[in-house]
Amino acid sequence: MDEAILKIRQLRKHYGENLIFHDIDLDVAEGETIVIIGPSGTGKSTLLRCINLLTHADGGEIWLDGQRINAPGVDEDLVRQQIGMVFQNFLLFNHLTALENVKLGLTKVKKMKDAQATQKALSELQRVGLADRAHHYPGQLSGGQQQRVGIARALAMDPRIMLFDEPTSALDPELIGEVLGVMRQLAEEGMTMLCVTHEMGFAREVADKIVFMEKGSIVEQGSPEDLMYRPEHPRTREFLWKITELYGQQQEGAPADGFEAEPAWKPNEDEV
């Protein structure tokens, strides 16, 4: 498993008595897009935060590029530079323009010269289609544009892996598409991505693997076809059914080629 960029073994996190997740094993290979789905309160977001050390796991191991990153003596700032993070509520720096948001890490962390940082930041904004909004402040941008700046800000650091924490959950429905479009483009460019999302259309079409998490552990993982159309675990089936009911109808367009329009399964009362 040496080709995995990110390797998680037996990861565990609790807040006091409250167990958030446990026994998490996960591998993310170079260029892979993995989507984590599951009910809210399952520990998905906390898992992402543990991976980039914004919060600390209580047990288990996280390896990035063959280096154990959740160990004493690790330079956490250096680790975070290599992991891009996109937040549900964007979290752009409110007092800085889009360009300055993207530049900050380049000048303050990578110690780039101003002109060089500006150039790099502009090209990242271009990548997410927002070069013309470079001098707008977050308050002057739509939610979708803010999130794309958030993605550009993370990309600018040239991360080994990008973490997305429900990047479209705070967006109006008509703005979701532009963010998913950027994410899809990144996946096609070969970016390694770990996404927590409820966007099943995106998961189905872009993910190499879907991971279903519930009550703090991974219930099932597999290819989109297997997981969405032939889920093994009754809880996976039930969750997928619910989420299809909730979001399925309004989701962008028809399923990709090769998939049936309707899931082949129905919730089975006996199993639930």
Partner: protein, 214 residues
């Protein structure tokens, strides 16, 4: 003594009033900023000790502290009344300015710090580049209150014999028995100073306002 000389005598105390204010305010800001950072980011011990500092200093009349600093400290170090008064007012003000800055820091969404750390900024750099620039903008309005208070409290140094506006008004009022005119002139000077300070801070707040946010 004609009216012009009379007023000029009082007004020339403005230099001392401004001098005391311009020492006390930045001193209080500097100490207040450092202490606010200890308060917010210094863990339990930090916040406890800062709470104590705040309670003690805010619980004592400024003039009492002024006397303590002048008569106790100047026994060891040679301080002029002007310097002692300005330093004492600065220290008093630091407790209030600490509270203002602390409140402003706490009003910045915690997510801002998280996002800065996620990019790879160190905690200190995140505070410097992300939290404080936003906190300072929030602090301007409450800070203008403190500016007004320090300008007015600068009159307390008259008790140490510093010939500032109030001291001069008292002297000249006593010498020609026109107290109303003397104190009226002093009041007008303080009022104008406070008014100008507030006006320029409102201007500063507008100028620094972040486009697109409320």
């Amino acid at each position: 003594m004609n009216a012009a000389n009379f007023l000029q005598y009082i007004a020339s105390g403005t230099a001392y009033t401004l001098g005391v204010t311009l020492i006390a305010l930045p001193l209080g800001l500097l100490i207040g900023l450092v202490l606010a950072l200890v308060y917010v980011y210094g863990g339990k011990a930090g916040s406890r000790s800062m709470q104590a500092y705040s309670i003690v200093l805010r619980g004592i009349p400024p003039i009492v502290l002024l006397f303590i600093l002048y008569f106790v400290v100047s026994g060891a170090i040679n301080l002029s009344p002007f310097t002692a008064g300005a330093l004492a007012l600065g220290i008093v003000s630091s407790a209030y300015q600490m509270e203002i800055i602390r409140g402003a820091i706490l009003s910045v969404d915690a997510g801002q710090m998280m996002a800065a750390r996620a990019v790879g900024l160190s905690r200190l750099e995140a505070i410097r580049s992300v939290v404080l620039p936003q906190a300072f903008r929030h602090a301007i309005a409450p800070w203008s209150n403190e500016v007004a208070i320090v300008i007015k409290d600068s009159s307390l140094v008259y008790a140490l014999g510093v010939p500032e506006v109030l001291r001069r008004a008292q002297l000249i009022g006593a010498s020609n028995q026109n107290y109303l005119l003397a104190y009226g002139a002093a009041a007008t000077i303080y009022f104008i100073l406070v008014w100008l300070a507030n006006k320029s801070l409102v201007g500063l707040e507008k100028r620094l306002a972040i486009p697109g946010s409320h």
